[in-house]
Symmetry: C2
Subunit: 614 residues, 2 copies
């Protein structure tokens, strides 16, 4: 395309953005218009992409981090011939693939965006996959806005990309001066952004983002810069090309007042078509070896921390399968991810203490076909909550592992205790939440998660717990284990993780008193084993749940999921952590929280006597 054609293409993208938002009656045309020339040049001259084969391993990756500028993305798809004009005008309507913010319902969108500051860290994950796993030279282009550069996650990514010398990663920053509410912190001071990125080890280029020649030169320079990622800081105007809105406040997220006039001002409708350059022929290297999975086996009667079993099982899984990767938030010695690092250093990633980047890197690698397991303390996964939520919208298949769950960690105190993690992970759309109580169960569940779609979560414990299952037992997701059962059971105790041994001990005490208690190990917290719970309710009449987690959103609530369809609900008592813990030993903590064997037995007595606790 000639320079004039590039400019015309930019205008066409503006026109189509205006038209799409006008047809929808909502959307963000002005945020699209500022970046239209950047997108035009990228599409026509620099992107290598086969729209017919979005899964092509040589395709460049493009992430629209400023997801609200979706009209621009969809207009580009139209220019590339991937969607039709009538489809463009279905923007934001029920049933359309063209959502308000891009999601993978479109085959060319790998990750959902719309929560700002996520595109770059996910792009880092894709770039790491290209450079260190697939050894393929695709470029990762991330287009972001200026407002989102205030997000800490962007600087976690800037640090990671600089440190990892991700020279195939380019950030295109559309510095249009205006955020949603008004002017950004730095306005059009491109130098302010350049100083920051340069300090983090990036190559920086400052341009007029409406000068297609300058844009073209900048993209070429980015592609030829070795050893460093590049940020192109483009000075642009929000609403560029339509005087009524150009560089004006108060036009964020609104269709233009008069779309027809605006289209005319922009030179009218066009139908330029772009032949996007094809990707080179390449072969991605993550052939899934179908090797034998030799999971670690633990002898019954011993004591092993489930975090250790996790590390050992993940290492074995990595040996059996070449597509498994492990990510660490600088606590791999504690989570035991480091076992994997020793055996498979080429598939191990240290993201340091940056949990948003940790999860984002997993999302990016999953988008490239890898099977990531990302681990940190359960408590610190809360740092990445928004990324986990969005990963579900992306349909990402990632596994998260949270160690040091609950008050049972002991002396370190509340800052290190995961007490909200089950709640957080259960509320994620389509998630799987597992909480093993022993080492063999852990090892089995690590393997079960490998091919599980969606967001998987494995909760591990710091201290040693008794090995109560044999190495040969299986633990299907959605199942449970009935550990004690008899015809005269008068209640059912439902436990998971560290409360399973406590429940067994309580059942033993109760048996001596003549109270027979069923005990269920609810290792699959979501999906929950409804049938077993319903049978237990029918046969024993009442339930007692006990968990090392706050009372909201955890195992007690998971159990009730089996009874919220209109059927009779059993009487129940829920034991959980209701106090703010301090420092104490593990046993003291569990006693103080009222989740140890003694507390279970006491509540069980009340329950079978039909007494009300509160």
């Amino acid at each position: 395309m000639t320079v004039q054609e590039l400019s015309d293409l930019g205008q066409q993208l503006r026109v189509d953005s205006v038209r799409a938002a006008d047809a929808a009656g909502s959307g963000h045309p002005t945020s699209s218009m500022s970046a239209a020339d950047l997108m035009a040049v990228l599409l026509a001259r620099h992107l290598h992409y086969d729209f017919d084969r979005p899964e092509h391993p040589g395709n460049d990756r493009f992430i629209l981090s400023k997801g609200h500028a979706s009209p621009l993305l969809y207009s580009a798809y139209k220019a590339a011939g991937a969607i039709s004009d009538p489809e463009l005008l279905t923007f934001r309507k029920a049933g359309s693939r063209l959502e308000g913010h891009p999601t993978p319902r479109l085959p060319w969108v790998e990750v959902a965006t719309g929560s700002l500051g996520q595109g770059l860290p996910i792009g880092v994950g894709e770039a790491l996959a290209g450079k260190r796993l697939d050894h393929v030279d695709y470029r990762v282009w991330v287009l972001c806005g200026d407002s989102e550069l205030a997000e800490g996650s962007v600087w976690e990514a800037a640090e990671t990309a600089g440190h990892e010398n991700l020279d195939h990663l380019t950030l295109i920053a559309d510095i249009n001066r205006l955020g949603q509410r008004g002017p950004t912190r730095h306005g059009h001071d491109l130098d302010a952004y350049a100083r920051r990125f340069a300090a983090f080890g990036w190559h920086t280029i400052e341009i007029d983002g409406h000068d297609v020649d300058a844009i073209d030169v900048a993209f070429t320079e980015a592609a030829s810069t070795a050893g460093q990622p590049t940020v192109i800081l483009a000075r642009t105007l929000k609403g560029k090309g339509v005087a009524a809105v150009e560089d004006q406040e108060g036009w964020h997220g609104k269709p233009l007042g008069n779309a027809a006039e605006a289209v005319e001002e922009l030179g009218g409708e066009r139908d330029l078509r772009v032949s996007v350059q094809p990707p080179p022929a390449v072969r991605a290297l993550h052939v899934v070896r179908e090797g034998h999975l030799d999971l670690p086996a633990y002898e019954r009667g011993g004591k092993v921390a489930t975090r250790n079993a996790y590390g050992e099982a993940l290492t074995a899984l990595g040996t059996a399968r070449g597509d498994v990767v492990a990510l660490d938030g600088e606590v791999g010695d504690s989570t035991r991810t480091q076992f994997f690092a020793k055996e498979h250093p080429e598939r191990y990633f240290e993201l340091y203490i940056a949990e948003q980047q940790l999860v984002a890197a997993a999302v990016g690698m999953a988008a490239r076909g890898w099977k990531p397991y990302a681990g940190t303390f359960a408590a610190f996964l809360t740092r990445a909550h928004d990324f986990i939520r969005m990963a579900a919208a992306s349909g990402a298949d990632i596994n998260l592992v949270g160690s040091h769950a609950g008050v049972a960690i002991g002396e370190d105190g509340p800052s290190q205790m995961g007490l909200e993690d089950l709640s957080m992970m259960r509320a994620v759309h389509g998630s799987t939440v597992l909480y093993p109580c022993d080492a063999n169960q852990t090892a089995h569940l690590v393997a079960e998660l490998a091919d599980r779609p969606g967001i998987g979560y494995l909760r591990t414990s710091r201290g040693e717990t008794p090995v109560i299952y044999g190495p040969g037992e299986t633990f299907p997701i959605g199942g449970s284990k009935v550990l004690r059962s008899g015809a005269d059971d008068r209640l059912t105790i439902v436990a998971a993780g560290v409360t399973v041994p406590e429940a067994l001990s309580a059942a033993d005490s109760l048996a001596i008193e003549g109270i027979s208690a069923r005990v269920i190990d609810l290792y699959s917290v979501k999906p929950v084993d409804r049938n077993t719970l319903r049978t237990a309710a029918d046969e024993t009449g009442c339930l007692l749940t006990v968990e090392d987690h706050h009372e909201e959103g955890g195992i007690g609530d998971a159990v009730l999921d089996a009874f919220t369809d209109g059927r009779p609900v059993p009487r129940l008592i829920r034991l959980a952590v209701r106090t703010m813990p301090g420092s104490a030993t593990s046993a003291e903590q569990m006693h103080a929280a009222g989740i140890d064997a003694e507390a279970i037995a006491a509540s069980a007595r009340l329950l079978v006597e039909h007494a009300v606790v509160s």
Copy 2:
């Protein structure tokens, strides 16, 4: 103190750190030893603090962001005469105030730390309070480690502090080269950190962190630097002073092997006492005006968005009370926090798109006695989950406001929809969770939250909802409203927020069919109105909950809280968002999710027929 005495004090802090961890059998002595000289000079020469009056408004603030170095903090308290040696040796024991990571159980600790990267953003909040609210010249000193500089939240804070010219804020960075797992990304490359902070507008000083003279000069320079915050980058050695551990990997979070030998190597026990300089006499300015609260009033029968009512009520509250402050994450036009900004600009803070800093600033201001209301989209509060969790450990009294809740926002799609926020906020220790359905209720609840201790949460809606209550009605926290009730009610529909009008409409339809339904507006999601729910269960036999939120951890679970104490549980059906929404109108979204009047009525019919749904 002389230079020699300062060095001796540093050694004493090391000795006491080693002794405390040895007595505990756990803890982080080596992380304490690296920063001991920094702490000694700060305590003896630069901190202004009255340990007998921790609430003194002129006190400098000190935050130990590397909370695991708590032995150093407690050893400093001992040197200042605030705690005794026997108390020091209670470190990490049950009942001790000296927890593994510092919490406000100690009167000199304003905020809990231990989740890394939080000290600086909270310090920014305290510095903003000093500079822009109290107009008091106290200094805020934050001591952090090097590993935590990888956290994005640190760079959100660096950006904010630089932009706000917080020259009374000093970050002391203990660059000891070793994180928990091994070497940090930048090791002893102080310049790498200096470049980054300088780019964000900070004054930077690089020193040998074991040279007490150099430290003294640096602190003086920091205190005399105008217009910029200062970071002191101190090259230190982890485990400094004990050859067996000094600068060695593998000693994070462990007591030394032989404490007695280490103490001897450090020069033996000492009992130096420090006379910490007193704060100047100052008067904080946030006298709570007891003005008349003139809440906005809305006419019944109209339609008003609850987010609008929030903005108007907060503005009125700010007029009545001089201690109310509002914080915005660059969406104040959407959350309507901007109404407050217009009326009370001196108590309004724009934190831009940096939700961790948003919540941290609120925590810092609350620590200085202000009443913060911090608002953004409900979905984006997930970004600050770890800060909210830690705010509860800090005992902070802050209010968070999440707008654009649920699928009812319409076309923008899942990235913008708060569908996990009730779950997240309910699971926070001691939290209050409110979800109003109309404008007058919203206004009342905004005022109710002002003096509520702990973490408050108000969920608001984007679209207009009918005003169903009169302006005079009251809505106590922990209460609910019974909107329909009769002697022959056959079920109870429990709704909140946008599902209240749907529930009323469903009840009307059902009434025509001869099914009388009670309707409860559960505006107080936590604490929940157990008595009303139990009465409804007793009188109507079964419950139907309906919420614009994922099914896990929200209103359905909150309702069940009333029945988990062993009492009989009513049959129930829970309606919630179970699908991944796309773009559609608000009404289409609620219909697709199965939470509109039609879905409620259909489920109600099943429930009264004793049918099981699943």
